[in-house]
Subunit: 338 residues, 2 copies
């Protein structure tokens, strides 16, 4: 075991397939805002990983590198504290991926439950792009190149962390030295935000998301169609709180927890209208999104500045990844010209 | 279709898992000696590919980068004409591999007859390292990064060329431009040299090879155990020429073809002793190997010079690969900082 450095190193980020939405805000962006004060935090704009299933839509991937970077800045990620970097601009990540691929079998990758589920979701079956099958290896390269000790994940991604640590142990055992570092999962204490339609996952492609740049009117409309309790037909009827998306959202955005408990009690008993609840939710969401939207608009006007932030972050990230990869190379005897 | 440049670009090379032997000399080194005067020839020391099944023996891979480079120089490869380069020192090859992996499915890779056969030979079955399954993609990256138009291969490797050209077409169609270049196979006019034991393939690991640095005495011993015709017990018996390894070797190394035809006639008729044939073969092999062995010894004394040759070749190769990869990046919209 290598000694844990006093300051944790966090690796997190997003596939750049679309701008971020409220689900990301609750699930991860809020946590990153806290982590940036406590940790050496790398936010990876994973454009290479996005390409594993977006090869025909590469311009979407590129556009969304910029969009997601704007989202980060707009929610308050501070590039002086967090290192925002672009995966494709750090060649050492590809080089380390290629090496780690030799330490895992195809059948082990196929058994990865996260991959299995994603293959099912995308309808790939036997026609999985090879790049998609090996993306857990690429993720392991991202994590280990930065020597991350902490990786924020959802419960469904725990197998990815296990896979990464297997690769770390296998690599270190192979070279007889602890070069790469095992990481720990940081599970989100907050549940995943459902889509406004009540589906388990908020997602742009499912058209059930509220984006971080949403205009007031978009928020109104989204709240209006937010799923409540389809059996709660008359105000006086008792209503269900569980599975009621308006309450899931209020759990995330109503800070007055006593008031929220009282609303739930009244809703269950009957006599609280969906419209009243939705007014409250609309108010809360407008308050959360307005400052983000305004900052988004300001940043979007200055793409040169965004590129500068990305350039600077990517340079810092590359320094760290290159240092790790130099150790990897030396350990494997591949430093011919050093 | 892109226009074929007037001077062909050749990509060839060797997995660096062991020093080269007579089989390599006849099968490919001789051809490369000719090609270096006619083409822009890249000789890739494929250490990354060697690691796909040598991860636990990485120091062997490293040592043999140097040994194979010495073999090249000893047979007369001229670093002023041929570009000798090390795969692991050209990050663009890993980067391009990662991108091309998104354009081929796992099942397509599993159907590749070359991969199927190699999986069988290595006894991998379902426990194929992921890096091994995707090595045809890595090969395609090597070929396309240098925009090679000609790839010398054995007949058994034709599926690799087809796989590469599929990836080229798929990539170019995806970006709507002809960035990568299709290649053609250059089939060796000479058959593959068998092992001295009569097995189909000369291979160091099968212990049936004669190395390019073999001492006179090693050559004697190897010739002595070289397989002839096990039914040719008495000199006067008629002997078989087909499958007789001594004749296979003489086909490759006896330049007086009329004399060779006469020997075959006499052997078939009966009356020509194996010992006489072997004396001739020994003479021929000593003549071929002696100058190579002497040059090998001279080069082996100056490892610094070998490293210089490799450094220079790798720099030249990297320039070409980086130029191609810059085009690939631009075509995919991934040139954020350009």
């Amino acid at each position: 075991m290598t000694a844990t450095p006093s300051r944790p190193v966090v690796l997190t980020g997003d596939r750049t397939t679309g701008p971020l939405h409220l689900g990301h805000y609750v699930g991860s962006l809020e946590a990153r805002l806290k982590l940036q004060d406590e940790a050496e935090q790398y936010l990876l704009l994973a454009d290479m990983q996005a390409l594993t299933d977006h090869m025909g839509r590469h311009f979407t991937v590129r556009e969304n590198v910029i969009e997601v970077a704007i989202d980060y800045l707009a929610v308050g990620i501070d590039p002086a504290k967090s290192i925002i970097c672009i995966q494709s601009q750090i060649p050492e990540l590809a080089e380390l991926s290629m090496l780690l691929m030799n330490l895992v079998t195809v059948s082990r990758l196929e058994r990865n439950p996260t991959i299995k589920e994603e293959i099912r979701l995308r309808g790939f079956e036997r026609d999985i792009p090879a790049g998609f099958l090996v993306y857990p290896v690429s993720q392991a390269a991202d994590i280990t190149a930065f020597k991350a000790t902490v990786v924020p994940v959802g419960r469904d991604q725990l197998p990815m962390i296990e896979q990464t640590n297997e690769l770390v142990r296998s690599f270190n055992a192979g070279v007889g030295r602890d070069i790469l570092v095992e990481c720990g999962a940081l599970l989100s204490p907050v549940g995943r935000l459902p889509g406004v339609d009540g589906k388990a996952k908020m997602s742009k492609s499912l058209n059930n998301a509220i984006s971080l740049g949403a205009e007031p009117d978009e928020i109104h409309k989204a709240v209006k169609r937010t799923y409540t309790d389809s059996n709660h037909l008359r105000v006086d009827d008792p209503g269900r709180v569980e599975g009621n998306v308006v309450f899931s959202f209020l759990d995330a955005f109503e800070s007055d927890k006593q008031r929220l408990a009282e609303l739930k009690r009244r809703y269950r008993a009957g006599g609280l209208a969906d419209s009243a609840l939705k007014r409250l939710l609309d108010e809360r969401l407008q308050a959360v999104i307005e400052p983000i939207r305004l900052r988004r608009q300001r940043f979007a006007k200055d793409p040169g500045e965004i590129i500068n932030v990305l350039r600077h972050g990517t340079e810092r990230a590359r320094e760290k990844a290159a240092a790790t990869f130099a150790e990897v190379r030396r350990a494997l005897g591949l430093a011919y010209f050093a």
